[in-house]
Amino acid sequence: MVCGETQLRSFLICDHSVKFVGLTATFLHADDDGLLAEIDLGIYSVSALLKVVYKFTDRCYIHLQYRSGRIIEARFRAKDPQKSLESVAGEFCNELLDQRLREIVNRESAPVRNLVLAHALSRTSLASLPLEATVLTPELPPNQSGV
């Protein structure tokens, strides 16, 4: 299992119950009504959470609600009641970790990103010069869309 810098998020999944090795009061919990996750907004932002749950909307119905101060509850129900949510639990945790890394990257690189995009999209000095006019035209079949 991967530990981020906080050492808080390791977990193991056995059968349908979830045991936690980490130290926080989070966060996963399987019952007859699917899977319930408690997300600590001190660790993950709401936008990270929304992006993560979006990825599961192919397999699950998902409901989010505040439980207390900084805890959000996410309820996952399988669209197909025959399907186990075991893999969802694991993937959900990994995706949260990934999303947290993304937030660090996005926060830290935002100034450079804005600078580069401003530079790239500006009409002045660089934009009209031939350096950027190099377009490769691949040899496509002339009909791209069917006869």
């Binding site: 660089l126 010069l129 031939p130 350096l131 190099t134």
Partner: protein, 383 residues
Amino acid sequence: MHLSAKLSASYDAEPFIARIAESDNSSDRAKEARLIRGDRTLLPNGFRCVLRLGVARDSEIGIPPTLAYLRDGDIVRINPRASEIRVLYRRHSKHNVLFFTERCNSRCLMCSQPPREIDDAYLIEEILEAIPLMAADTSDLCITGGEPTLLGQRFLDVLTSAKQWLPKTSLHLLSNGRLFSDLKLVRDVASVGHPDFMIGIPLYSDVASRHDFVVQAKGAFDETVRGIMNLARCEQKIEVRFVIHRQTFERLPQTARFISRNLPFIDQVAFMGLEMMGFTKTNLEGLWIDPVDYQPQLRQAVRELTTSHINVMIYNHQLCVLEKELWPFARRSISDWKNIYMPNCEPCMLRSECGGFFSSALLRYSRGIKPFHQPVGAGWYHN
């Protein structure tokens, strides 16, 4: 081949430039040195001077047999006080060099021409004087130094003069490219509009600090890369040069990838072996790696660039040290006057295809040097 020699005597006069004349047909005698071989008696009139290969007579200047190769149309610089003659240009050579300055803003670990901080502004004045004397059918001229762009306006003047007098001559500038980070200089170069001008610029790594280390100048990588981008914006032809040695070979493939990803618009990439001159001798233990030992990196780099449709040339490498896959990229590039072969090469079948060595290579060369003998079946085999 010697490009300079001592005169038979000295006398008190300013140094001057003259074109060699072997006949009296010329109309521009004031700029020419009449060359006489042996003890023929001639009474040439109006020439700048008379050079005699042999015993000099009154008012003639005697030059030694090492310069017997001088021909009509060659250009020499004569310094009477120092009793020196230097060959600046040879009419029938493809390796003529315009040496701009000894000054440089980098200090590369393997520089074959270590920079000196001296006032050598006279060099460029002589070049400007010599260009109109050169033959219009000169195929190639190479501008080198030092760092030629340090001359600023005088550098542009040479480009303009070359365009005026030698419009059919390919002009190749060797520059570290750093000053081209100034877009104005690049625009000035572009506005000269020389019809056949290429700029060779070294890039020694894909990592800034490693390139800066090799050229011993902080910030050089950024300046060079910006320079290359500026040149591309102004539609100049660009060659990227890479000297392979112990401090650069490991990131050869990554540097090739960097070029194909970031500078795909360049015209060609040249990979070069070490020339055992100048700082290379000073730093030999830190720089030497047997070319046989970097073939995998070189092959990977060449593949990366050819996949990206960038022309590749390999200079200063003998065929027997190159993997066969790389042979099509090998060029015979060493200037004729410093090109040699080893005794080992005597029986080699491929000598005429092979670039051979710099004369300085006697100091150290690859353990892989072996002659090729008769072909067996479709391939060649080693001794």
